[in-house]
Symmetry: C2
Subunit: 226 residues, 2 copies
């Protein structure tokens, strides 16, 4: 049989060049689009035109994929500023903005210790910019701001989701939960809560985040200038 008639060997699809980087980016794309539940190894692999098992060459476990995702968004978190206070504000804002861009971050942040290179780099620039402040204060100060940010961001995203799930905006939300709360309040068992909901301030998300952050920073400042 002449060469000309021989079939070419079947083009086996050029094995897509893979890397942890590409895998993580694909996972992030999926999570951004459809939430963390949409991140399954099969879907990530599909996104890359590859069999699911292929991924295990690069990541040992789904958990480490999630860790890598978190570390990857820390790329976007490089706070700067003049003086410790500005830096901590920048840190808090950067994390919050990242969580706005990647809502799934709220589900993961604080859930496991992060020691990835980007997270460490982010910590490095913060610590480096805290110049002048005594080490015994720096550590708890950064820790406190981080803790506050984690909690505040989680709550903010949780509320945003609840609103979105039940119609559209804050008004819609009140329409949905309002009657429930009315019924609860009608029992008379929650007078303090009731008066707060009725007469309390209605801060928007930005203000509310910033006010809490200022509490933390003022407390730190009090200690520094003691």
């Amino acid at each position: 049989m002449l060469v000309w008639e021989q079939p070419e060997p079947p083009d086996r699809p050029t094995p897509a060049p893979l890397s942890r980087e590409r895998i993580v980016q694909a996972a992030i794309r999926l999570a951004d689009a459809d939430g963390l539940d949409a991140v399954s190894l099969r879907k990530v692999a599909g996104e890359l035109g590859v069999g699911p098992m292929r991924l295990y060459t690069y990541i040992a476990t789904k958990e480490v994929l999630l860790d890598l995702m978190v570390d990857a968004v820390y790329t976007e978190i490089r706070p700067t500023g003049d003086g410790w206070r500005e830096v901590l504000v920048a840190l808090a804002d950067a994390v919050r903005q990242a969580a706005h861009r990647h809502e799934w971050l709220a589900d993961l942040i604080g859930g496991r210790p992060q020691l990835g290179p980007n997270t460490l780099a982010s910590g490095e620039v913060v610590l480096a910019a805290m110049g002048g402040v005594d080490l015994d204060t720096v550590v708890p100060a950064v820790a406190a701001v981080n803790a506050y940010v984690i909690g505040a961001v989680r709550r903010e995203i949780a509320e945003r989701r609840a609103e979105r799930a039940s119609g559209m905006d804050k008004h819609q939300w009140q329409v949905t939960y309002g009657p429930y709360l009315e019924r609860i309040f009608a029992t008379g068992r929650f007078p303090a809560l009731e008066s707060v909901v009725r007469d309390g301030p209605h801060l928007d998300a930005d203000e509310s985040f910033r006010t809490g952050l200022d509490f933390v920073l003022d407390g730190i400042e009090a200690r520094i200038s003691r």
Copy 2:
């Protein structure tokens, strides 16, 4: 055929008397023992001697089961104290203690808005005890403490798990991660981080939680007495 020879109708097992309460308690038992991943509808049902589908009469979705679990532990959170500061400390401690008893709480807390009766009751006693403080301050103050507590508890539990997973105590943990950090530091890219780890303070969990909380409370106090 005589009656005597007729087989009794098969004793259909007396349907276990069920209730949301019993289901939630079973789920909490499982989660306490083996972590949140051990809470599957099948296992919960099994624990109650019941088919999985039976549960859907009481709970629409697994998510609401988780919500109910969180609300159930808020039964244990009824902070009291003299004056707003004591109350907020009591709140923070109560949540932290609850998370120590139920580590899975760290995975859920802050993840979805909580409007269950026990959570509301807990909020009620806090607000009721904040007497004297102006409404415009009470709301952000409680919110800030809650946010801080959520973040701090998450981090604490995350660290505890990491330690447990890698041997036993804090010493063992340093043995495991120490070399990794050494290698990282050897790159010279993280000088500030390095000096903090080497020369910074080593607070234990209680101190660290309390210090951060004090920052928040001091910040609030500054605003109140302004």
